[in-house]
Each structure stands twice: as C-alpha cells, then as structure tokens.
Amino acid sequence: MNDTQIPAGTGLVMLGCPQIPIQTSAALYLVHRLRKAGFTTTVAGTKAARSLLEVADPERAYLDEVIDLDTCIGMVAERERDFDLCFVFVHNDAGIAYSASMAAMSEGRVYAVIVGGSAEEILAQMDGIPCEKIMAKGSHNPLPMKRKLDGVLEWVVSNR
C-alpha cells in the first residue's frame, strides 16, 4: 500500500500460459508497482502461471489475491466483480481472446501486455480491440517490458 494507505482502486493482472518467461517476471513487477501505487491487486491465471508466482513469493511479499483465470472471467462476466485497471498478458491467440473479452466486459481500463517472439504479429491482429496495447518483443529479457510498464504506470499514478 502507498504512504497514504488509502486504496487507489483495484487492479487485475491476468496471466495466460506461462511459456514466455517474461510473463512471470513482468507480472510480479506489475503487482509490486500497483501495490506501491495503492491499488489492491488480484492476479488471475492458469494453475501453472499461478504456481510460478506463488512459489517465487512464498510469504506474499508482493502477491495479494490469486485466483483461477476461468473463475475470474466468470465473475466479471456475471458482473459480480470488476477492476479499475486490468492488465492482460498476451502472447498467442488465446491472449487476444482474453484481452478482447475483458475489454468488452469490464468497465475499467484494460491494457494488453503483448510479449513474445510474435509480439508484432499479435499486435497487428489486435487492431480494433478497444484496449491500450503495451508491446515489447522478446521472450527472455524483461527489461524492455519493464520500461514500457514504468511509462504506463507513471501515467496511471499521476492520473488516478
């Protein structure tokens, strides 16, 4: 939580198949930055994606709520929950489907975090999906995506 201890809002970090190593690193960084900015942040992911995070953060120094991806989709679809900010990791067709679905279902601001070797092709396929796109090509070096996320988060924090 930030120094004022007043929640700035709610954030969601949505993870797909963890075959791209950047995803886990960038997700943990994103959760950390959102928490520092005062957002109560939930991570939704597949079992493997969740396990990668939970094993890396056993005392929950960074993670708050961690939930199943399909459960999360169900809650947002049924309007039981929504989030002010939603970051959806995208590196394949399924990621496009999840980000397009969140953009359609959520009242919050949705960002597609596009990673992987096919990031440019994925970005081209997402033309017309009403969400912000954050792209950093590559699968192993998290620093380009970190820099992109820093830029977005600075804007989010200064405009909240």
């Binding site: 797909g16 198949c17 075959q19 597949t46 493997a48 994606a49 991806l69 399909d70 989709i73 169900g74 947002v76 679809a77 049924e78 394949n92 067709d93 399924a94 990621g95 496009i96 489907a97 999840y98 397009a100 679905s101 359609a104 279902m105 999906i129």
Partner: protein, 87 residues
C-alpha cells in the same frame, strides 16, 4: 459437458467462417456468454451456430488456443435462440 472437437488451433476468423459455412442458424453473443457452465470468450462478435439442437462454437484454452466444439443440448439451444442475436 459432452462435446466433440471439430477443429483445433483455429483462429477466431476461421471459427466464424466454419459456423457461417456449415451451420444454418447463426447467433452472435457477447464475450462472457454462459453456456453449459462455461463462459465463452473471444473477439466479438462471437458466432455460435445451430442446427436443430446441435451447437457449434469456439472455445479457448490459454495453453492450447481455440477449439471449435460441437455439442448437443436442447436446453442451451433454446436459451441461445432467446438470448443471442440472430445473424
């Protein structure tokens, strides 16, 4: 949910093309549409095909991409005919 897999690793466009080509009745549903206790996701408009009580629809799994599934359900067909937008 008892289903048959018609196609694996298809794009949303390919899934929609299959439904347009092979299914006589077609309905658009929004992402999150609930069917057989699952929420259908995808790039809108999501197209579901109907023939009698047979449904054909895209189903996306994070690690496996999008499948095109065929399902028999009188109940879900009836619900879709009421809730979906016929196109």
């Amino acid at each position: 949910m008892k289903y048959e897999i018609l196609e694996r690793q298809v794009s949303f466009r390919e899934a929609a093309e299959y439904v347009r080509k092979h299914m006589p009745e077609r309905y658009e549903v929004p992402p999150g549409y609930r069917m057989c206790d699952i929420h259908i996701i995808g790039v809108p408009p999501i197209l579901i095909g109907v023939e009698g009580t047979t449904l054909v629809f895209p189903f996306t799994k994070p690690c496996h991409g999008t499948f095109l599934l065929r399902l028999e359900s009188a109940e879900e067909t009836e619900h879709l005919r009421k809730a979906g937008k016929r196109v």
